[in-house]
């Protein structure tokens, strides 16, 4: 067994004086897809934000053999962690293509950046059609694709995705998840996916964690959790 790509241990997180995460332990293996499930308000977004240094935390986080806890967000990102945030983080006044260029801002290899823009357009042809449009005029689904595309421009080793299916039509969700699967299979991008749609996420992931009011209550292979009726009924509601 190889060492995990991402390894968080005993993570506490705070909004001002309020504690919202309690001793969370979490791993993502290299090349794997892990999902973090839980009800609204359980602390899923907070967990992802803790991993990329966007709020006050205690505990240890290691990525690719380095300790990253307490580092600045931009430095963590530059190590190869792309975070697709809840709400998508679109640069609304910039064009679609500029949004992709912004995603590559930490890189210097100009030729490869242009090639990657085309690669993203290959995955998301709709973005190519609208590449000169202000990104704020895109539909919610298109902005979600743009957010994933912007993350890809970083050439990440690990992608953190916060509810990528939120607000998308079912067909679009299928399409997006197929692309995520392909990215993982063909390009070896590891993923940590936060989802409310547990069935969908368990289908894609190979490992799952379940979060309840800031504490991990369960973890295991995605297949086992999917097939355990008791867990499904009591925690996942389907």
């Amino acid at each position: 067994m190889s060492a995990p790509l991402l390894d968080a241990s005993n993570l506490d997180a705070f909004y001002g004086p309020t504690q919202v995460l309690y001793g969370v332990d979490l791993e993502v293996v290299a090349g794997g897809i892990t999902t973090l499930l839980g009800a609204n308000g359980a602390g899923k977004t907070t967990t992802l934000r803790s991993l990329t240094g966007m709020l006050d935390t205690k505990g240890e986080v290691r990525f690719d053999g380095r300790s990253i806890a307490g580092r600045a967000t931009e430095d963590i990102v530059r190590l190869g962690i792309a975070h697709v945030p809840q709400g998508r983080g679109t640069f609304v006044r910039e064009t679609v293509e500029e949004n992709l260029q912004i995603g590559a801002m930490s890189r210097r290899d100009r030729a490869a950046i242009s090639a990657d823009v085309e690669r993203v357009y290959g995955y998301f042809p709709r973005l190519k059609e609208r590449h000169r449009q202000q990104a704020g005029t895109l539909s919610g689904g298109e902005q979600q694709m743009l957010a994933v595309g912007r993350a890809l421009m970083l050439r990440p080793k690990l992608m953190l995705l916060d509810e990528p299916s939120f607000g998308l039509a079912p067909l679009l969700v299928q399409e997006l998840f197929e692309i995520l699967r392909a990215l993982n299979r063909d390009e070896g991008v590891s993923m940590l996916i936060v989802e409310q749609n547990a069935a969908l996420a368990l289908d894609l992931a190979d490992h799952a964690y379940l979060l309840e009011t800031g504490r991990l209550v369960m973890s295991g292979p995605a297949g086992e959790i999917r097939n355990n009726e008791t867990i499904r009924r009591s925690y996942l509601g389907y």
Partner: protein
């Protein structure tokens, strides 16, 4: 008619200076959501530096560009040393910091160079252009340089990677950090550029208003007026607002009886209030529709 045209051109010349100050104010406002009241004093101090360099015998253009460089570095340093430590504090503490900066720079200039009025040379001379009475050579030079500078800034922000990174950092700092952009340095760069733009404005207007520590007071007010009227969220709006202020100021002073020199500033302030009442985001202030 000739008088009218003359006043419009002269208005565009001073308007260019107001546009520079408006732009400098907007560049910082977009990054930190606060108005830099010390922008004018920073420009005044830059102009004194240029004057000192000229006194030491540097040729005009050498002093001009050296001053721009020094001002840029000073702007970056002021952000890193003075502003960065309080950037997450309330708007009120920003205001206090800016007022303190204003007072410190103003009295430092008075202390070093004293408060007597000094003349400042024009690189273009003061004779009339082409022997016409329409516009003086210095006014024409002012318009030329401000327009050149504005075009260069536009190209920088529109077409360079650093320009795009600065736009991203100002528009959505959190998302910019997630793209690996060093937002803090982008803000500092914005301060440097605003200080450099202010320095150019100060050096160009100094031959007209003369050099002394309070020279930028009313100019910054017109700059604010231009920025607010054009819209604090729109650099282009601020520039257009600045140019308009210059023209309106001149035409009102010439053609509306009783206005004269004394009431020109009142006109500008009235205009701010009027525009804000009708359109709070300014004439060019943008509100982008976002579909969800």
């Amino acid at each position: 008619m000739e008088l009218f045209l003359h006043q419009v051109l002269a208005g565009l010349a001073t308007g260019g200076i107001y546009a520079c100050m408006a732009l400098a104010v907007v560049m910082i406002y977009q990054a930190i959501d606060s108005l830099n009241f010390a922008q004018g004093e920073m420009a005044m101090f830059s102009t004194f530096i240029a004057w000192q360099l000229l006194q030491w015998g540097l040729p005009y253009w050498a002093a001009f560009f050296l001053t721009i460089g020094i001002s840029f570095v000073a702007g970056v340093v002021i952000e890193r040393v003075v502003f960065k430590p309080v950037q997450n504090e309330s708007v009120l503490s920003h205001v206090v910091i800016f007022i303190a900066l204003f007072a410190i720079i103003n009295s430092a200039a008075g202390f070093i160079w004293d408060f007597t009025i000094k003349s400042f040379p024009s690189p273009f001379g003061t004779r009339e252009l082409f022997g016409q009475r329409l516009i003086s050579a210095h006014d024409a030079g002012m318009i030329g340089i401000t327009i050149l500078m504005l075009v260069l800034l536009y190209l920088f922000f529109r077409y360079t990677r650093v320009g795009l990174a600065m736009r991203a950092a100002a528009a959505n700092p959190e998302s910019a950090r997630l793209a690996g952009i060093r937002v803090g340095w982008m803000v500092a760069l914005g301060w440097g550029m605003a200080a450099a733009v202010g320095a150019i404005a100060g050096m160009l207007i100094a031959p007209v208003v003369f050099l002394e520590p309070n020279m930028m007071l009313s100019i910054l007010l017109y700059g604010f007026a231009g920025a607010v009227v054009g819209g604090l969220t729109s650099p282009l709006g601020a520039v257009i607002g600045g140019f308009s202020m210059g023209v309106i100021e001149n035409l009102a002073g010439t053609f509306i009886p009783y206005v004269g020199r004394e009431l020109k500033l009142t006109i500008a302030l009235t205009l701010i209030v009027a525009v804000l009442t009708v359109k709070p985001s300014g004439l060019f202030g943008r509100t982008v529709e976002t579909r969800v």
